[in-house]
Each structure stands twice: as C-alpha cells, then as structure tokens.
C-alpha cells in the first residue's frame, strides 16, 4: 500500500501539469492566430539546437543559459518556501528577503573596495545574513507573540521595498545612468561566469550545494525532523518535546537565507547592478516550485528546472509569436489550484458517476 502511494503522487502531479499545459494551450488558441507555433516555442524554445551545417556547433546556447539562470533563482526560492511550508508556516516574506539580499550586495559591492574573492564572498554573506534576519523577525513574532505570519511578512515586504527604494534613490543611485539604477558592480563583486555566452555563474553551483544542504537539513538532522513534526501537528510536536517556538522562528529565518541568495543572484549574477523594480512578484514564484516538489528539496531541483524552462520558453514565445509570456502565469495558477485540490479526483469521479447514473436513468426511462 505504501509503495502504491509513492507511485500515485508523482502521477497525480504529472497529470496536473499536463492538464494545466492543455488549458494553457486552449487559452493560447483563443487569442492567437498561430497557436501551434506559439506553443512549440513555449515548449521547445529553451533547448539548444545542435547544428551540423558548418561542422558541429551548438546554437542558441544563450537560451539554454537563460533556462539555467532562471531555474537557479527559482530553485533557491523554491527551497526557501519548502522549508517554511514543511513546518506549515505561511510565510510570504521571500519577496522582501530577496529584495534586501540584492540591496545588501549592492551596498557591499559599491561602498567597499576589496580584492576579488573576498569582496564577492562578503557580498554573498551579507545577502544571506540580511535574509536570515528579515526572516527571523516574523519568525520570532509568530513563535513568541502569535502574530499572524501572513500579515507580518506581507507588511515586511512593503517595508523592504521602501528600504530598497530609499537607499537606491538617495545613496546608491548612479546619477549618470539614464535610468534609476546603480553603477555596474566592480568585477571583484560579480559572480564568476561558468558558461561563456550566457550568464550562468557560480550561483548555479551554490544552488546545487544549497539543494544538498537543504535536503540534508530536512531529512537527516533533528531540526528537519522537528520541522516535519511541527508541520504535522504543533500540539503533538510540543508534547513530544519539540521546542516549537524555536523551530518556528528558525524555519522562517533559514528560509530567508535562501531567499537572500536568490536576491544576490539577481544583482551579482544576472544584472551586475541594482535597478528599480528589480523583479516584482518573483518572490511568490517559489510557491509553485515548492508545491510541485511537495516540499522535498530533491524534487525542488526538478520542479525548479521545469518551471524555469516554462518561464524561459514563455519569453521566447513572446518574442517569436503574438502571445505574451503571461500565459505562463495562468498555467502556474492552474497548477497551484489543481495540485492543492486534495479532493479533485474523487470529486471528478463522483461527478462522472452522477452523470452516468443520470444517463442510465434516462435510458431506462426511455
């Protein structure tokens, strides 16, 4: 029976993804003159093309790179969300933690001058520390004062955004730039490039390490076990001797470290500077990744790669067809709705049975 359940869950998730993609296609077909081409671009765009015309060459390596870059950020955010969701804490603070992480890297990058590895490492550490602290605030408030974490994290997101703008406008902004943004970071504070022709950087390796660490933390340490117990039943965990207050506070703080790193990836890896409106809403994208992965870090890797693929494909689709990339948000919303619908399949079954029995009744009556 247990083996059966293990098998059913991935199939269910796969079915949900396929249904969501199918609905996405129907929506695309409604507005597009060339829905098949658009959807082909969405689903195959990020793949590099291997060409044999002038000898062996790989084309579109930048698209492949975009996929990895996008996935790196999403996996970090997905890990951040997984940790809090595992403890059943609805912290929505990743957005603010990410923004402040990026902000701190800019402060270190532009206001200090240090040699290469030290400068970069210090900036990364700053992003992680601020993420930890910004996550610790709602964690402590929830643990010791029962302050609802949804409202507190949403409010801390607003404060973080204002802090971001405040420092950017008044302190970090480069007046010579034609837009609201900082000067480019010095090379000593930029993440080293991994694949030439793309922006895939050291952060992709750090992300892989983060996946392993998060998996180890959640599956092989007492903290991970306490996290799981807390998520299953707080009263029971308390009865079992878990210091639930500490675990609640720490779950949100540790989650913040990863969101802070995601912010550092945006500034030190992708943009190599700070700009206004860094990436509104991106902090919420970790949720779909965590849900697809059922809060398991190993599956977060896969789910993040999948969702990153979809987002990159959507950008390519937007450039090469008459469909905007926002279709991927619609697909994402459908995935969340269907994946969290525990009673979806029983409900459909019941409905079909009802229809069938009605049909039979009609046949019998006729």
């Amino acid at each position: 029976m247990r083996g059966m359940a293990k098998f059913v869950e991935p199939v269910r998730i796969l079915a949900v993804v396929l249904i969501a993609l199918a609905i996405g296609f129907v929506i695309t077909a409604l507005v597009s003159k060339e829905p098949a081409q658009a959807y082909t671009a969405l689903l195959t765009g990020p793949l590099p093309r291997i060409s044999f015309e002038n000898g062996f060459a790989i084309k579109n390596i930048n698209r492949f790179g975009n996929w990895l870059e996008e996935s790196t950020t999403l996996i970090l955010l997905g890990l951040a969300v997984s940790i809090v969701f595992r403890a059943r804490q609805f912290s929505l603070g990743a957005e603010g933690q990410m923004l402040l992480g990026a902000l701190m890297t800019a402060v270190i990058a532009l206001k200090l001058s240090l040699p290469f590895p030290a400068h970069m490492l210090l900036a990364l550490a700053a992003a992680m520390i601020i993420g930890f602290l910004w996550g610790l605030i709602p964690g402590l408030l929830k643990a010791y004062l029962s302050v609802d974490e949804i409202v507190s994290t949403l409010m801390l997101n607003v404060i973080a955004l204002q802090l971001f703008d405040l420092l950017l406008f008044n302190w970090l902004r480069d007046p010579a730039a034609g837009f609201v943004g900082t000067a480019p970071f010095p090379a000593s504070a930029v993440l080293p490039l991994l694949i030439p022709g793309t922006r895939v950087s050291l952060m992709t390796i750090l992300m892989l390490i983060a996946v392993v660490v998060a998996w180890f933390l959640m599956a092989r340490t007492p903290f991970g076990f306490e996290l799981k117990m807390l998520g299953a039943n707080r009263k029971f965990a308390e009865y079992g001797g878990v210091n639930t207050k500490r675990v609640i506070a720490l779950s949100m703080a540790v989650s913040g470290i990863l969101a802070g790193l995601a912010g550092a990836h945006l500034s030190m890896g992708l943009l190599k500077r700070l700009t206004i409106n860094l990436s509104p809403g991106l902090g919420f994208e970790g949720i779909v990744v965590a849900l697809l992965a059922r809060n398991d870090p190993r599956w977060v890797l896969l789910a993040g790669l999948f969702y990153g693929y979809l987002r990159t494909g959507a950008q390519i689709m937007e450039r090469s067809s008459d469909v905007t990339r926002e279709v991927v948000l619609i697909i994402q919303a459908i995935i969340i709705l269907l994946i969290t619908a525990e009673r979806l399949f029983p409900f459909v079954q019941q409905w079909v049975q009802l229809r069938r029995s009605r049909g039979e009744a009609v046949v019998e009556a006729g």
Binding site: V31, L145, V158, L163, V328, L329, I330, Q332, F347
Partner: protein
C-alpha cells in the same frame, strides 16, 4: 520648506480630500476581506480580484460602443462596473468552490487567484489592445463623481466636501463610507451577521445550532469578491481612467493588514484605512520637501506590525489573568 509649510499643507481641506481619495481603494477591499475573515475564510485574493475587476471595467466600458451598439453612452461606465463586479464575485465563488468542495488550502487558492489575475489581465490586455503596459489607447469610461451643490463657494467646506477642483468625489468614495455603515449594521444588528460571525468564531457550535456554515462561507467569499471588485473599479474608472499592468500595487495586501489593524471591526478598519491613506498622501507631499517619501510610506506597515504585537500581548495577558482567577477559585 519649514515645518510650518508642512503643517499647513497637512491641516488643509485639500489634504483631507486627498486622503479620502487614496483611502477609498483600501476601504472597499478591506470591507470585503472583513466579511470573509469574520466568516473564518481568509481571502488573500483581494489584490487579484481588484486587478481583475479594474481590468474588466475598463475593457467592457471601452468596448461597450461596439459590443452593445444599442446602449446609450451614459450606460457604458455602468456596464463596465457591472461586468467588473460580476468577475469579482465569480472569483470569490471560485475560491469558495475550490476551498469548500475540493478541500484546497484557502491561502494557496487565494495566492493562485492573485497570480491568475496578474497574468490574465496582461495577457488579455495585449490581445484586446495590442499593448502590455496600459490601456491608454482605449477610450474607456469613468464612473461619475457626485458634486454636492451650493457649497463650492464656502471656503473650507467646498474643498472638504467636493475636493480641490470642486468637482466632487467619485461615487465609489461615497459608496465606501456607505458600505462601512451597511456592513456594521449587517454584522451587529442582523441575524445573518450573527450567523457569519458565529461561523468564523466557532464553526462546530454554529453548525450544531443549524447554521449552514458551508453556505455562509460561500456567501461571505462572494460578498468579499463584490467589495474588492468595487475597489478595483475605483482605481481604473475613477482614480485613473485607464488600466495599467499591476495597477493595484499591493493595495489588496494592505487591505488585509487594514482589517487586522482595525481589530476586525468595520469602523476600526475604516480608521486603519484612513491611517494608511494619510501616510500615503503625506509621502507624496513630503516628497517635494527634504524628507524621503519612502520613510513615510514605511510607517503604516510598521504600525500594523506594532498593533498586532500589542493586540497579542494584551490577549495573552487576558488569558493569563483568566487562568489565574480560575486557579484561585479552584484552590479556595
């Protein structure tokens, strides 16, 4: 730029008029969120519902001449508003359906609705207008403002009652204040209001006395969709007369905070919304002076967190006191 100038600009009728305008899109969704929250079903999707309604109102009123050739021109804004409200209610119903029938987590369902709205509005805006940023190419309608007659010549009163331009406030601003009163009466003076609060406070007890809690929650979520939609319509058909991508800019989330800051009471929420509105209006004013507007904008969220802390400390003290009394009684 002395303190005097600042104070003068704050304690002016024009400033109060601005506050009312800025607070309207917070009061309306907060009233909706309050209804569902008191019914025990928190609605995180206020933001998305506002956005979807704002978009629908602009599109339907803008295309009304083509879609409803027989309709008179004065009806265009109302057709848009009607469509927007229907979309908002439909979204509220969908949340209820997914949560109550399919047993989804209501918070995740709400988040999914927000994501759906922010994606679908841009997606559809592009296919309707060919633009992804705003509907500025579409001539959409504005909901009327109500001008109170005869007071414009009275110095302070004219500005206070009809705004700086003397054209009056948008009808949605009046509706916001009316709604606060209506919801207060509903919650505390009608049986249905008692049923709603009972459903939220103690669902099992409510059910045991024959309240259909499922139906109450359906109604609460649809009603919250209705109110949030009004807030969204105000943004795109009153405050501005276009739709912009993500124009709600977090107001739906702030409305949630407003509910908590207002101690889950309609009058409290109204006051909280006015506090947020004041800070926002103040931020814009001070922006022209030496104080960065971001600092002022940080105050309301910080106040919200502080209010939540104080509320919980007091609640804990109350519980402890009750426990102590109980123990004393038990031992004596």
């Amino acid at each position: 730029m002395s303190l005097e100038v600042v104070l003068q600009s704050i304690f002016s009728a024009a400033f109060i008029a601005t506050v009312i305008r800025v607070a309207t899109p917070l009061i309306l969704p907060a009233m909706g969120g309050l209804l569902s929250d008191l019914g025990g079903v928190i609605n995180i999707a206020l933001e998305g519902i506002m956005l979807a309604a704002a978009f629908t109102g602009v599109i339907v009123s803008g295309f009304a001449p083509q879609w409803f050739p027989g309709a008179p021109a004065w009806s265009y804004p109302w057709l848009g508003a009607l469509a927007g409200v229907l979309v908002g209610m439909a979204m509220g119903w969908l949340i209820a359906f997914f949560h109550l029938e399919l047993k989804t987590d209501i918070i995740l369902t709400g988040l999914a609705m927000n994501i759906l709205a922010s994606g679908a509005t841009v997606f559809l805006m592009f296919s309707f207008t060919g633009d992804k940023g705003s509907t500025s190419t579409l001539a959409s309608a504005r909901l009327p403002s109500l001008q109170i007659p005869f007071v414009n010549n009275v110095p302070v009163l004219g500005t206070l009652l009809n705004g700086e331009n003397g054209t009056g406030y948008n009808i949605m601003s009046y509706l916001a204040f009316v709604l606060v009163v209506v919801i207060w009466i509903f919650l505390y003076r009608t049986p249905a209001g008692v049923h709603l609060r009972a459903t939220g406070e103690m669902p099992d007890a409510a059910q045991s006395v024959g309240i259909d809690i499922r139906r109450v929650r359906y109604q609460a979520l649809v009603a919250s969709g209705f109110c949030a939609a009004l807030g969204g319509l105000y943004l795109s058909m009153g405050y501005l007369s276009i739709f912009q991508a993500n124009m709600t800019a977090g107001r739906g989330f702030i409305a949630l905070a407003v509910i908590f800051l207002g101690n889950r009471h309609p009058i409290g929420a109204l006051i909280a919304a006015l506090i947020f509105g004041t800070a926002s209006a103040l931020g814009t004013r001070l922006g022209t002076m030496a104080i960065p507007p971001q600092i002022v904008e940080m105050i309301p969220p910080a106040v919200t967190i502080a209010a939540l802390i104080i509320y919980n400390i007091r609640r804990r003290a109350r519980i402890n006191a009750a426990a102590r009394r109980f123990q004393e009684q038990a031992t004596s």
